[in-house]
């Protein structure tokens, strides 16, 4: 399965994704410079974390217009697998590939910490290795992860099981205290209706090896590889 990780000016988790997929999962992966306009030949595109364009104005706002983005959007609309992590998630929101928007964390500070995530939907290409309701331990590191969607959008997200991860307690309760940033509905990650574009604030690439304190993130990437190897077809 061939991955491409997109490098925007200011991306800083691209190498981490590269390592997790390339060295830990041993899958082929290329770095794709934001100035490229062709993404053909890839099975999955990853938009990594970082501070694209310094996150100035709004996180992801300027990156959304990078030269590579039309190709990414076409790829995504054609059903290609797209994973946006942290800043990558913010870019997907700005690009309109996922609904909603990010605000500053309600504590108004950057937060780097381990969080617990409840798997709300394990039928996506990204979560096949998890069981429904499983609690994962994955770190976050962001200042603008306070997810917002209006009531209507939210209801639709819920109805269509597009909320994939929610912040929860270690035992899986979705409580305000377990919410590190003020996101509506404790939302940590969502998927599009077609099920091929996932955005999440937590960093799976930071917990893909035992030495880093956990391997739940590896399972997310491994789920993708499983899915691809099974040749499952989206939207079928």
């Amino acid at each position: 399965m061939k991955f491409g990780v997109i490098v925007f000016p200011g991306s800083n988790c691209d190498q981490d994704v590269y390592h997790a997929i390339g060295s830990v999962l041993c899958q082929p992966i290329d770095s794709l410079w934001h100035g490229a306009t062709d993404v053909s030949g890839y099975d999955c595109l990853v938009l990594p974390g970082g501070f694209s364009y310094g996150d100035y104005l709004r996180a992801g706002a300027i990156a959304r217009f990078a030269p590579i983005m039309p190709a990414v959007i076409d790829f995504a609309r054609a059903g290609g697998l797209v994973l946006g992590i942290c800043n990558g998630f913010q870019i997907l929101l700005e690009a309109g590939l996922l609904p909603g928007a990010m605000r500053r964390n309600d504590c108004l500070q950057f937060r780097c910490q381990w969080t617990y995530l409840k798997v709300e939907n394990n039928t996506t290409p990204f979560t096949g290795r998890f069981h429904a309701g499983q609690v994962l331990r994955v770190p976050i590191a962001h200042g603008e992860g306070n997810y917002y969607a209006d009531a209507e959008t939210l209801a639709e997200l819920e109805r269509k099981h597009q909320v994939v991860f929610r912040y929860c307690t270690p035992t899986g309760e979705v409580t305000p205290a377990a919410n590190p940033n003020g996101s509506v509905g404790n939302i940590a990650g969502i998927i599009n209706q077609e099920g091929n574009i996932l955005g999440l604030m937590p960093h799976p690439e930071r917990c893909a090896e035992e030495i880093l304190g956990g391997t739940d993130g590896r399972e997310l990437f491994a789920s993708l590889v499983d899915w691809w190897q099974r040749g499952d077809c989206l939207g079928a």
Binding site: G10, S23, G54, Q109, R111, C112, R206, L212
Partner: protein, 733 residues
């Protein structure tokens, strides 16, 4: 020239005479400006240079000692670690967010100027007490500024320290350390070699930022500095991130002879230092420097401290390729001059020469001052205070609670949760332990990093304080299983023209030097920050030590949390009746007095050797040194960092408060599986180090008895609550 002109720039009459002598003529205005910044304390080290000579700087593994942008240490396999610490105290006092942010930006540039990939940041902070809103404002801004810059760069801030004391009110300390890694073949130095080579400026445009910042950093803060403050530099971490990648690409393609960042004194210092190191000269045309503002004079361009700029000396013919790389990263790269053979820094504006001075006159001929050293009058009284008659506390549980709540000892999570300490996925042990541990991908090695210093000890005895800073840093590294390799130091002091400060400085450096020799941790570089005073009151003399160590096999590392029921607790080292300068004395008795704990460096080395060997042999499940708060606090910290409590039985005829809270040096608490107990004790005996079994891990309580008599019994939950909530609660006020 009117004396007012050069005096305003910070030069004395004799200094001005010396400039005339060097030049053989009167300097013009621009030239006076060049001398004034380069001969400022900040750049010229005129009150510290002779004293710094005392520090040992050599060891077989030191590849680069002081004098370059950063020090370099060999870590085997053709790799090296590059590191340096720097202060940004004055800018942070004026504008905490940008001051701290640009402090991080500056120190990171020193690392990649050597050709290294920056991999981590550490920060050492001092503020006044948090009940003052001004101090809360400063801490909030400083921490947010470090987070803003470091996080955006994608560099993990993996360790640091924060202390609070009234002596830092009004003059906070913000010391930032950066660490990088490099293949030895890629090492570049800040040399402008090769007559005829170009000088290229890469990065941000030049504005009127921080003109005379270096001079500003060389003055006391006061009413006047509010007025005279230079326009504050604003950091742009996004541009710096691009600058890092561009410079490393340039190194990878072997396109340059040398480079240097533009820190204090901007273009002036980078150009004359690069020339002076190589024994060459440099000619620069300021008209070629891209500007952000209109109407800037040559003087302003030369002295601007605009951030995120580098000066490169390309190999011949490499200029076009360098421009292309910079363009790829969206950066400007412009040839602004060339290397010359006459040793002069010659500044032109268009065709016209506006300044011409020998480069070495600026860097090496800065006058050096030997100020009379005098024992501060406060010391005798403070050191000889009779502490033996202080009342014994009635409730030791309550004392421990108060210590855990003391901001100096309480959890610093409020700070480091704002730092992305995980990015780069090498952080194996982040903030919260004795030292941070980073893996080196592609090898089995680990790097251990720490930064330490105790201003209170140094206040009470700067020699001891300096030595203890080194010893504690090394001990922290040993506790994670690393061998200490070298240090970078930041010496924060008051006005060095005062004999008492001169004495403190000399004493502290002497102490550090003594410890560095015995512990074999040479100094590879550092920074001196003088004039940390407000309204004539100096801060505590505060030497801060950043240290790097190596774990040959990262699988053999150690943490400080207890995790295993039944593990045996062994105290390596001995507790002496030493509560002078302790946190206990300050918190419970409201006193900063006495003598700091004694330090026997041979004992220290043996204790650390014992700990490292025990860890390397796989005998230890947790190790933690006794530092501020003494044994009792060390035990509590290990209980909180792990998952179990312990029952501890101490014996001896010391007063219980001494036994529990004395900050005697050279002590480490090890948790070892019962089967390893005898081997660890035997190892200690072999090294000639006292070691005693003091308890056993287990349960949810930390129970401590002395001679069979219960002293306290506190639950992990309660302790954790107190310890974790203290700083957040203060900051929320």
């Amino acid at each position: 020239m009117e004396p007012e002109v050069y005096r305003q720039m910070g030069l004395t009459d004799t200094e001005f005479e010396k400039i005339k002598e060097i030049l053989g003529r009167a300097p013009n205005y621009v030239e006076v400006g060049l001398f004034a910044v380069m001969w400022s304390e900040h750049c010229g080290y005129k009150h510290s240079r002779p004293v710094l000579q005392l520090l040992p700087t050599e060891a077989p593994w030191v590849l680069q000692g002081p004098g370059e942008n950063a020090g370099i240490i060999d870590i085997g396999d053709g790799q090296a670690v590059v590191f340096k610490i720097e202060s940004h105290n004055h800018p942070s006092a004026i504008e905490p967010f940008q001051g701290a942010a640009t402090g991080v930006g500056g120190i990171v540039r020193d690392i990649f100027a050597m050709g290294a990939r920056p991999i981590a940041i550490l920060d050492s902070l001092r503020f006044g007490p948090l009940d003052d809103p001004r101090n809360r404002y400063l801490m909030q801004g400083v921490v947010a500024g470090i987070a803003f810059y470091g996080n955006c760069l994608g560099l993990p801030t993996v360790a640091g320290e924060v202390y609070f004391d009234p002596s830092y009110s009004g003059n906070p300390l913000v010391n930032a350390m950066a660490v990088g890694i490099i293949d030895q073949k890629d090492i570049r130095r800040g040399h402008a070699a090769g007559v005829g080579n170009a000088a290229m400026l890469v990065g941000a445009r030049t504005g009127r930022d921080g003109i005379h910042g270096a001079t500003f950093a060389s003055e006391e803060l006061g009413e006047a500095s509010e007025e005279r403050r230079p326009s504050v530099q604003v950091g742009d971490p996004f541009r710096e991130k691009l600058l890092i990648e561009a410079c490393l690409d340039i190194i990878k393609e072997d396109l340059i002879i040398g480079m240097q960042d533009m820190g204090a004194a901007g273009l002036t210092s980078s150009s004359c230092e690069m020339a002076a190191r190589a024994g060459t000269g440099m000619e620069i045309d300021v008209a070629l420097v891209p500007r952000r503002e209109e109407g800037m004079t040559a003087y302003e361009v030369l002295l601007s401290e605009s951030q995120e700029r580098m000066l490169l000396v390309p190999k011949q013919g490499a200029e076009a390729r360098i421009k292309a790389i910079c363009q790829h990263w969206g950066l400007e790269a412009v040839i602004i001059g060339r290397v010359t053979g006459d040793g002069f820094l010659r500044i032109k504006e268009g065709g016209q020469v506006v300044a011409a001075v020998p480069a070495r006159a600026l860097t090496d001929q800065c006058p050096v001052y030997q100020v009379e050293r005098r024992l501060p009058f406060y010391l005798d009284d403070l050191q000889n205070r009779d502490l033996s008659r202080l009342p014994e506390p009635a409730d030791y549980g309550q004392v421990l609670r108060r210590l855990l709540a003391s901001p100096n000892l309480a959890s610093k999570e409020w700070v480091y949760r704002q730092y992305d300490y995980m990015v780069r996925t090498d952080t194996v042990a982040g903030p919260g332990g004795d030292a941070a541990v980073l893996r080196v991908k592609g090898t089995g090695k680990g790097l251990a990093l720490t930064v330490d210093g105790n201003g209170r000890y140094s206040y009470l005895d700067p020699e001891a304080g300096g030595a203890i800073a080194v010893a504690e840093a090394a001990r922290n590294l040993s506790c994670v299983g690393a061998r200490p390799l070298g240090i970078t130091d930041c010496l924060n002091f008051g006005n060095p023209e005062k004999p008492e400060v001169a004495w403190q400085f000399y004493q502290a450096v002497t102490g550090m030097s003594r410890a560095c020799r015995v512990l074999q941790t040479p100094v590879t570089g550092g920074n001196v920050s003088f004039y940390n005073e407000t309204e004539g009151e100096a801060i505590y003399p505060t030497p801060v030590v950043g240290m790097v160590g190596l774990i040959p096999d990262i699988e053999k590392r150690c943490g400080m949390g207890w995790g295993q029921e039944g593990d045996v607790l062994i105290l390596v080292g001995v507790t002496l009746p030493e509560i002078g300068g302790s946190e206990y004395l300050a918190v419970v008795h409201g006193l900063v007095a006495g003598r700091p704990p004694s330090l026997n460096l041979e004992r220290e080395a043996a204790v650390q050797e014992t700990v490292r060997q025990a860890i390397a042999s796989g005998l230890v499940t947790a190790a933690h040194d006794c530092a501020e708060g003494g044994l009792a606090v060390a035990l509590a910290e290990s209980a909180l960092a792990g998952t179990v409590g312990a029952v501890v039985e101490l014996a001896g005829d010391l007063r219980p408060d001494y036994l529990l809270f004395s900050e005697s040096q050279s002590r480490v608490v090890l948790a070892v599986p019962p089967a390893a107990r005898e081997r660890v004790l035997a190892l200690a005996r072999e090294k000639g180090v006292p070691a005693a079994v003091i308890g056993r891990c287990g349960g949810e309580q930390l129970i401590v008895k002395i001679n069979g008599c219960p002293m306290f019994n506190l639950g992990r939950g309660e302790m954790e609550q107190i310890w974790r909530q203290s700083i957040p609660a203060l900051m929320a006020r």
